[in-house]
Structure formats: structure tokens, C-alpha cells
Subunit: 352 residues, 2 copies
């Protein structure tokens, strides 16, 4: 039952195990015939190298950790897929760690990963939503390992970051609503403390300003990133004396709640009301939903994160922290009007 080792092969071939090791790893300085002989015997005996033993001496495990809040959240599988694809392409395997947005769980995982001597870590910090000091990533600083973080938040800069341009995303979403002719545009955000959320809000504000449209405080509301929250906040907005005729939401899930609320109130979308989400999760594109939204290149984010990480791991070459900013993209579907007003028309309407 005992697995066959390099020594077993050596005994069989009658050579030292150093030779076996070198032969099997295609190291130079081995006679071609011996090499072939060894390969053949290894094959025949069903030899499977022990990566643990190898890891112990080489100090490399060819393993990385992927720490995310929740694989069930439709936002993360695509990222995971991107990470995994490039990892496996380079002979790495990845540990999947769900923190459930929970700092304690994250801590436990981070510890486990380090003990298991992963070569690097890719993480969406739970601290973005949880913990005493939301949004502070400084606790990651003392990980003595290559780390890539999904988030653009400030840090003292020991680790690479990767994110999309949330501000720009908020801007183009709002711009689209304006140009489609909606006049009172609300913002329904997620967790206020979230960096990405506030950037998106900033983008929203910038867009309104740049089109000389009024910024109305009562049209800006935040709660959290769930559908129920979108539903409830929309309910509130509709009660306003002067309710909005469009909304840009912090993410697609919120938008879903919004749509449900609108449907309930028999408000026609997109004719009388426009909705733009954020993220472009899979189901947003399903025929029954067709949500206009800002797409995050999720797969790409995962892919790039893994590439940056592997570079740091193997790269005496490109050392140093790298900050990657990806471009968001407007995906126009059926929850906003096709009809576009020219910029001037907007101004006229607005000022009349």
C-alpha cells in the first residue's frame, strides 16, 4: 500500500536516488539511456512524485490561496474561474476560501494558508464590510508573501491591487440615464462604508454636475447590497412628493429588488422609469431580466490578479507593487430607453 518512492526506483534501477531525481526532473548531466530506463521504471511502478516532500526542500508548493467572501454570490464565481484558469495553466492549484464576509473566518483562513505555505494569496478582504475599521487593509501588511488584493483602497503599499474604475462606472451609468432623457435620477447604494460604493456615488454626482443637473440629497440613499434593500429603498423613494424617474443602483442585486418594486407598482420600465445596475452578473443578461448595467470584467479581474501574483512569485523580474485599474463598460439592455436626447435638449429641459 505504501506509495512508491524515488528510492524504490533507485533500488530497482540500481543507481542512487539523486540520479533518479535528476532523470525524472529532466535535469542535465544524465545519460540519455539511464534517463529513459528510469522513466520507464517509474512509469511501470506507478510512481507519483510526492509534492509535499518536494515542497519541503524547494520551499515552493505551487499552490495559491483565493480568499473571497462568498462563492455563492454570483459575482465571485467568474473571478474564481479567471484565477483558476491561469493558475492551472501554470501548474498551480488554488485553495478556495469563503470568508462569508467575516473577519474572524478570514483570519483563520489566512493563517491556514500561510501554514500550508502557499506561494501567494489573492484576496477580496472581508474588512471591506466587516470589522471595527471597515475598509482598512493594513492588517494584511504583515503577510510575508505575495498578495494581490481586489480593491483600490489605500494601503501603505506592500501589496498589489486590482480593481475597476468605479468612479468612471458611476459616471457612465448616470450619463447614460441622462442622455436617455430621464430627469430625476436617484442613487440606491449598498453599504455606505464600502469604497467601491462611494466611488460609484462620486461618479454619479460628477455626471449630474457635468450636465448641470441638480444634486438632490433625498435621491441618494444607501443600505446594503441585497435585493430586499433595493426593494425597500425604492418603496421609500416612490413616496417622495417628487419621486425619481430613474435610478442607478450600487449593484445588480439591488437593481433586481428595484425592478420588483416597480413591477408591483405597475410602473413601466423603461418607458416611464429607467434602471441601471452595476456588475453585470450572469442573470442580468437573461431574457427575463435584461438589465442595463455597468459590466465589470470579472473573469479578467481574476485572470489579471492571478497573472500579477504569479509574476510576483516567480519574478525576480517585475518586482514591486502593481496597481491595475480595469475599465467598466456600459451594457445597454431593456431597463433603459433606447431613445437618446442630444446633450442640448437635456439642458433645455433641465432649465425650463
Amino acid at each position: 500500500m505504501m506509495a512508491v518512492t524515488i528510492k524504490d526506483i533507485a533500488r530497482r534501477v540500481d543507481c542512487s536516488y539523486a540520479t533518479v531525481s535528476r532523470a525524472l526532473n529532466n535535469k542535465p548531466g544524465i545519460n540519455q539511456q539511464t534517463r529513459e530506463r528510469i522513466m520507464a521504471v517509474a512509469q511501470e511502478m506507478g510512481y507519483q512524485p510526492n509534492a509535499i516532500a518536494r515542497g519541503l526542500v524547494t520551499q515552493r508548493t505551487h499552490t495559491i490561496g483565493l480568499v473571497i467572501p462568498d462563492i455563492v454570490n454570483p459575482f465571485f464565481p467568474e473571478i474564481a474561474r479567471g484565477v483558476e484558469d491561469v493558475a492551472s495553466e501554470h501548474g498551480y492549484t488554488v485553495f478556495l476560501c469563503n470568508t462569508n464576509w467575516n473577519m474572524e473566518k478570514e483570519t483563520v483562513y489566512l493563517k491556514a494558508l500561510q501554514e500550508k505555505r502557499v506561494d501567494g494569496i489573492i484576496i477580496k478582504p472581508a474588512s471591506d464590510f466587516d470589522g471595527p475599521t471597515t475598509g482598512d487593509h493594513s492588517y494584511l501588511e504583515d503577510i510575508q508573501l505575495p498578495v494581490v488584493i481586489f480593491s483600490g483602497q489605500s494601503s501603505t503599499g506592500r501589496h498589489s491591487y486590482i480593481e475597476i474604475d468605479n468612479l468612471r462606472g458611476g459616471f457612465i451609468a448616470t450619463k447614460h440615464l441622462i442622455e436617455a432623457g430621464y430627469r430625476r435620477i436617484a442613487f440606491i447604494g449598498g453599504r455606505k462604508s464600502s469604497h467601491s460604493n462611494s466611488e460609484r456615488l462620486k461618479g454619479y454626482q460628477m455626471a449630474l454636475e457635468s450636465y448641470d443637473m441638480p444634486l438632490t440629497d433625498e435621491l441618494i440613499v444607501n443600505h446594503d447590497f441585497y435585493s430586499e434593500s433595493g426593494f425597500a429603498l425604492m418603496e421609500e423613494l416612490l413616496k417622495l412628493p417628487n419621486p425619481p424617474d430613474a435610478v442607478f443602483t450600487g449593484n445588480d442585486i439591488i437593481a433586481l429588488g428595484v425592478l420588483e418594486c416597480l413591477q408591483l407598482h405597475r410602473i413601466r420600465v423603461p418607458e416611464d422609469f429607467g434602471v441601471v445596475g452595476f456588475d453585470n452578473i450572469i442573470f442580468s443578461g437573461y431574457p427575463q431580466i435584461q438589465l442595463t448595467t455597468i459590466a465589470q470584467p470579472k473573469y479578467l479581474m481574476g485572470k489579471y490578479a492571478a497573472e500579477v501574483l504569479l509574476n510576483e512569485i516567480n519574478g525576480s523580474a517585475t518586482r514591486g507593487v502593481r496597481k491595475t485599474i480595469l475599465e467598466p463598460e456600459l451594457v445597454i439592455r431593456k431597463t433603459t430607453r433606447k431613445l437618446k436626447f442630444p446633450f442640448n435638449a437635456v439642458k433645455v429641459v433641465n432649465h425650463s
Copy 2:
């Protein structure tokens, strides 16, 4: 930069490293004071046990492999979550491996996992759809490791299986349609070679038979598990001289395509047409979809799989292959009529 080891601690405390090891692992035979002293020093020096070295001697890595076709497919994240939750609860970490339904990739992963000396493997075999002999799992037999397989297909029985009762699922889905008063019920399946698919079909047939309803060949079609396929096949069915007034689909994704097609043809659901899916993936419950479907307890499947696996890993106790069958559950939403005909009425209508 070199990480602190057990030897460093021993030197500092002035004892042998055997003592340090025992102290740190709460092994008996250590003086309480020494133990505390050692713990304190370890803490102070920032000691992190090297799981690789430990794994080498204990022959345990506290790591399992999860091999699934595609984490982006909304069916799998929940399973993964179930697996991960119980794994982490027991101090295990899990390798995520996406085979992309590709046998070759699966083989590569299986090899890697074994080399990395995982303690066990949970797998949804790519061979269920790919490879020369679809549905044959015998190639898994020579993995010398605890393995739990998602699938009920035959095997020589070296490994534990876990699945839901697909036949029963097909039965209750069809029964529901019948009792809701639909008369010509079609079946739009996925890959014909798929075990689960054919079981569901059997259930469908049994239901029709047990209600004395005719089995019509032209109403049974199969292609694959994608939305487009559902759309196309529904198109075909509608062209029949005597088209169906309901359909039970091989999974929810197919149902989505069906719904889209019906919408396009302005056929009212559920008034004039009933649809039942299978799986109950997340978005089936979203307000805009509200698909009646057969729920698979995905999270539970993952959870049980992990529990069975961990038992096999640690269990001199419950040795032996275990086969777990989970119950499917009908979730009635908005794509089937609420109205139920009594059983007799069905017969009358059918025979008149």
C-alpha cells in the same frame, strides 16, 4: 527572513525540539510550566507551524480536492459552499478544480491532487458528459484515496456516491403538471447520455403511465443542458400539429430558454402553458423568473459529501462505501397553475 522553526524556539527556551513539538500540540507528558513557557515564546517569535513538514511525517495534509465541471455554472457554487463549510469546520482546506467538463483537464487535476497528497477527493466526473465512454466512472477506481462521487451511476463500488432521486424528481414534476390540469406534457431533456437526465425522463414516463395518460414519442426531445437548446426545441414542439400545453425540462437553464420562446410567441404562462424545471438554481426564485421547479438540495449535497468523505478519511469507524440518496422537492412558483384538478377529473378529461 527565514521563518522561525521549532528549533529556534527550542534554542531559545533551551530544551529539545521534541519538547517544543509536544508542548505546541498539546501532547501529554509535558510540564505545565514548560508548556506555557514554550507557548509564550512561540507566540512572541511569531512561530507559524510548517504544515508541509508536518504533512510529510504524519502523512496527512488536512486538505481535500473538489473537482467540479464549472464553478460559473450556478449549480455548483452552492455545492462548493456546502463542501467548504464542513471542511473548514473540521480544519480542512479545499482545492478548487474546474474541469470545464473536459476529461483531459480532469485527469491532470486528479494527478496533481494525488501528488499534493490530499486526504480525499470529492468529484462530479467530467465523464458524465465527456470522453469516449460517457457515464463510465471506472477510471476513478484506481485512486488510492477516499473519494466521494456526485452521481448515482454504476461502479464496481470502491467509492461512495451521493445523488438525489432523479426518478422521483421527474415523477413529482410531471405529477404536478398533470394535477394542475395540463394535458399534453412534453419533456425537453439535456444530454441524452446523462444518467440524471434519463432517470428524470423515466420519472416523467412513470407519472404519465400512472395517470393513464398517453406517452407520445414526439413530445420527448433531448439536446443539451443549455438555454439555447431549450429555446430551439420548444420552437420545434410548437410546430407540431398537436403541440403540448406544458413541458418538464431537464434543468432550469433549459426552462429559461423555453420561457423565452413562449414569451416570444405570446403564449401565456401559466394560464395556457405550464413549465417545470429542475435544480432550483438561485435565479429561478428571483421575482422576474419565478420558475416552478424541482429543488435539489445543493448545499446539503455538498455538506453530506464532505461529511462522508471526512468520515472515510478519519474513520476506522464507518469504513465501507456509502450511498446517499437525497430527496428532491417540488417548489411551486409562477410558471404552473395553482388550480388543481382532482385526480378523477383528470381521468374524465383524458378519456372524453
